[in-house]
């Protein structure tokens, strides 16, 4: 979120954003006019808030193109790039109308003649990732679910990482089995505690669901353009630094998020 906030703060435009799950970060990028195209498998905040009104507004009016791939096809696109091959064969998406959306092609198995889908490698220009801990050489460890982050780091041309915690090289060497991104992949590393807030980091802080509820209630009350416009002014452009941004939530709220995470993952 810290890196997305910086993209917004710099008023970047014309971006294509690829991530298999898109949430408020995608909504803010759409509303700010930063993205032309979103490549994703699913976009909304979560079950209680229904279909994203921000996404509907931008996609239904043609302001943003939404290119849809399934989770596995998406994952294999990053994995193919991470492996340095042009595509990976798969069974997923075959026969569905998703095949034509992103232009997935089929190939014939040279051994059996069976039809397979060929998930094309996806090489992003830049990967923006957030990790649990890293050393100053950029060796990164991720606690909890690893999503597709390790493949994304291998697939991208430039890799920019924010980390919750900066640890010594010795600390990384003590648990090398937990390192998922080696330092030689990483171009830039930024120490940013609470760097995913109001979203979560495994065992460190829970997502701020109250914040999402306030945000969506304001969209329901005042409409997408006004509500998200004001949100961007207040949470992105007004605070000079990320710490100032966190200050808008206050220490007590951040502590509550930490306590909730400790209760859910006590043994980290």
């Amino acid at each position: 979120m810290a890196l997305v906030r910086e993209l917004l703060r710099q008023r970047r435009t014309g971006l294509t954003v690829s991530r298999n799950l898109m949430c408020t970060e995608g909504e803010l990028l759409m509303a700010a006019g930063a993205v032309e195209r979103v490549v994703t498998a699913w976009m909304s905040i979560g079950l209680p808030w229904g279909v994203s009104k921000v996404m509907r507004h931008h996609v239904e009016t043609g302001k943003v193109a939404l290119e849809e791939w399934s989770h596995l096809a998406f994952g294999l696109r990053f994995r193919a790039a991470a492996m340095g091959v042009p595509f990976l064969p798969t069974l997923t998406m075959l026969g569905s109308d998703l095949m034509d959306v992103g232009g997935m092609k089929t190939i014939q198995d040279p051994y059996t003649g069976e039809t397979l889908a060929a998930a094309p490698a996806l090489f992003p220009d830049v990967a923006l990732l957030h990790v649990s801990r890293a050393d100053r050489l950029g060796n990164c460890q991720i606690d909890g679910y690893p999503h597709m982050d390790a493949d994304m780091a291998r697939a991208a041309t430039t890799v920019i990482i924010t980390t919750e915690e900066l640890v010594t090289e010795e600390e990384i060497r003590r648990r090398p089995d937990r390192t998922v991104i080696p330092g030689f992949l990483v171009d830039a590393l930024v120490l940013q505690p609470f760097g995913a807030y109001p979203h979560e980091v495994w065992g460190r802080y829970h997502a701020d669901f109250d914040h999402f509820a306030e945000y969506t209630a304001d969209i329901d009350a005042r409409g997408v353009t006004t509500a998200v416009g004001d949100y961007l002014a207040r949470y992105v452009h007004a605070p000079a630094t990320f710490d100032d941004y966190l200050g808008l939530f206050g220490g007590e709220r951040l502590k509550r998020a930490q306590d909730a995470a400790k209760e859910l993952v006590p043994d980290l």
């Binding site: 699913w42 079950l47 279909v51 996404m55 026969g95 109308d97 679910y145 690893p146």
Partner: protein
């Protein structure tokens, strides 16, 4: 048991009965996950739940139901967190017995649309959240069970967009598309339980819930429905099933 049975409770109970012990199930958050958790607590203690955020073998804590497929509550006491890609590769390899999913729009061949309403994908009348892992689950699980409210506007002759393939156009078209196994076996709704004719793969009535007539089901379905040789009547939810279910969701976030 006090209180009338809500539509979500009916779906969760009827869905849970479809799951056998010692199997694996891909479950979406909400009612499908509640149904799987109910089965696990009642008749299928060795059921392994898999959640598409990349979570294998979680145990659902009462009152701590996840609202998304990747948050800490979804991973409570999980056995493995392999990442999203590798989680779905277990399904492609054939290790997932059941896929448990909902759907915005479903057609007579069981195909589901959760992408767009309208004829042109790039100019949608209504843009929906998208496949997520639904397409993968429908393509790669050995057996898919759909849980959905039974409404005429959902049950359409042909979906606007096939996000998740079931039997495609029927008559072997799923196999011809390259999908080696799987397909939708059951559609569990608030009115009854449905299967598919073995050859044509068109949907047919297999059971009605107590007090529901086949006539009433037809009136709420946008395409002609066949009938199994014998139409059964389901057992209503038991006190035992309802009390386990209600304990799982005491705030009634998903049970309605």
């Amino acid at each position: 048991m006090s209180g009338a049975v809500t539509p979500s409770e009916l779906l969760a109970v009827m869905g849970s009965r479809q799951l056998q012990d010692d199997t694996t199930v891909f479950a979406g958050v909400g009612v499908p996950l509640l149904a799987a958790a109910l089965a696990q607590q009642r008749h299928a203690p060795r059921l392994t739940m898999v959640i598409e955020g990349g979570i294998i073998g979680p145990q659902i804590r009462p009152g701590r139901l996840p609202i998304s497929t990747n948050e800490m509550r979804a991973a409570h006491r999980a056995q493995m967190l392999p990442g999203i890609t590798d989680t779905f590769l277990f399904a492609q390899r054939g290790f997932l017995d059941y896929g448990f999913m909902g759907g915005a729009q479903i057609d007579q061949f069981g195909n589901i649309n959760t992408s767009v309403v309208g004829a042109d994908y790039w100019k949608p009348k209504v843009r929906l959240p998208g496949t997520g892992g639904a397409n993968d689950i429908a393509s790669l699980c050995r057996e898919v069970i759909i849980l959905t409210a039974h409404e005429k506007r959902r049950f359409v002759p042909r979906v606007d967009f096939v996000t998740s393939p079931a039997w495609l156009g029927g008559d072997g078209s799923r196999r011809q598309a390259g999908l080696l196994f799987g397909g939708v076996s059951r559609v569990v709704t608030t009115l009854g339980i449905f299967g598919f004719e073995p050859e044509t793969r068109r949907m047919r009535i297999e059971a009605t819930h107590p007090g529901v007539s086949p006539q009433q089901i037809r009136e709420n379905t946008g395409f002609p429905l066949g009938e199994a040789e014998r139409i059964a009547v389901t057992e209503p939810p038991s006190d035992d099933e309802l009390s386990i279910l209600r304990a799982l969701d005491p705030e009634r976030r998903f049970l309605g």
